[in-house]
Amino acid sequence: MTLFLRRTFPLIITFLFGVAFAIQYYVPHPVSEAALTEVSVWLRIILGFAMILGIASLGQVHYAKIRTGVAGWGYSVVVYVSMLATVGVGLWAGGQEEGTGFGWIYAYTLLALQGTMFAMLGFFVASAAFRAFRARSKEAAVLLLAAIVMMFGRVPLGEYLVPAAGPLAGWLLNVLNTAARRGIIIGISLGGIATSIKIIFGIERSYLGGRE
């Protein structure tokens, strides 16, 4: 019985939900539409709880660092203090951001920190371009040429110096890039459908986790 509940029952649920909602798309009956509406509401609530999973995992990692006193544990204290302070201010503000301390934290700390973290990639992409972007083969040369045409033709200075650069970059995007991308999309979609079918029929079980 335990083995049935642990292993087989989840697979049955996956199968039932998978088949039901694959077929639902082709059944315009009001009951079918109502089922889709209701279950999508359910999914939103379940996924809200699943988000707690990610946060709790992160909290666990930093708590372990503080408890064991590993090098850099002080920074984990920063994580906890800032998290609790944000939650405290957020609850005080009732979740509203306009003109509140919670909004201030968002606008002047989160925006600055996350924005800068990703802005630094600009420096690294330039460094990588100088150190690694070499035309070692014909294919690499084509890649490099396409990249240069794009970078040149999609900025005002490039279009000003060479008026044809803009339309050329546009043609590359709309024709050659579209062709390759379309092939990739079709390939990935076929693979995705195959994986979905494998999941529904219980062939692919990695999403369940564990060995059972």
Partner: protein
């Protein structure tokens, strides 16, 4: 200017410079900023889940609109959290089965329609309509797209040996892919530079007189801090 905006400017400029200090090397300013970001993000997400999910989507509908059956997804949601208790972690499989089953089921027909059928239609339709007008750039482009799609798909078809006509087609497909990757790289450079421009824009704003030259003063302070930190790290001679 309101005090909160003024102080906010100094805080934002300071934190921006803390993060940028990583460009010199990994240092305590950056580590502090990085961990502060993690903590604040976690706190922000907790508040959003509390108000936008728990209260708006669950508590209010159940208590004020009488939708008591929403207790079922709430229970399934709690089962997800059973993952933290090793003895009963298998219970979370039920919730994941619902999530994955529903997700896979709804995805299949929609992806077939939008990513496969419509894309194939979009490739073939211009070719089929080509005969109605004199051969020009539009028709040429349509043929190029058809050639590109077919050769790229042939390249990715590894179940048959790539020799003869298949090999030639696959090689052409590689060149189409290289153009795609090159366009992607060019656009990625554009994206990364745009993000940098955005941050520098804010730093320039915070360097103005209105903010009492916050960026400039903090740049000097962070630089001094890094110098002192470097000196403190070096072994005494």
């Amino acid at each position: 200017m309101a005090a909160s905006v003024f102080i906010g400017g100094w805080v934002a400029a300071g934190l921006t410079l803390f993060m940028f200090s990583f460009l010199y090397k990994d240092n305590p300013f950056f580590r502090f900023g990085e961990h502060l970001y993690v903590g604040i993000s976690m706190g922000y997400i907790i508040i959003r889940i509390h108000y936008d999910v728990m209260i708006k989507s669950l508590y209010s509908p159940v208590t004020q609109e009488g939708k008591w059956w929403l207790v079922i997804p709430a229970l399934l949601g709690l089962l997800v959290l059973a993952r933290f208790i090793p003895k009963v972690s298998w219970l979370s499989r039920i919730s994941f089965a619902v999530i994955v089953g529903f997700g896979s089921g709804v995805a299949i027909p929609r992806i077939i329609s939008s990513n496969i059928l419509q894309q194939v239609q979009g490739t073939l339709k211009p070719i089929l309509n080509a005969g109605q007008r004199p051969f020009g750039m539009t028709q040429f482009n349509a043929l190029l797209i058809l050639a590109g799609v077919i050769t790229v798909l042939i390249y990715f078809f590894f179940s048959i040996e790539h020799k003869g006509v298949i090999q030639i087609s696959a090689r052409i497909g590689i060149y189409f892919l290289m153009i795609n990757f090159g366009a992607g790289f060019g656009y990625t450079v554009m994206a990364r530079m745009s993000l940098l421009i955005g941050r520098f824009d804010d730093l320039i704003l915070f360097a103005s007189r209105e903010y009492a030259y916050a960026s400039l003063i903090l740049l000097i302070l962070v630089t001094l801090g890094l110098v002192l930190w470097e000196r403190g790290r070096r072994p005494s001679s």
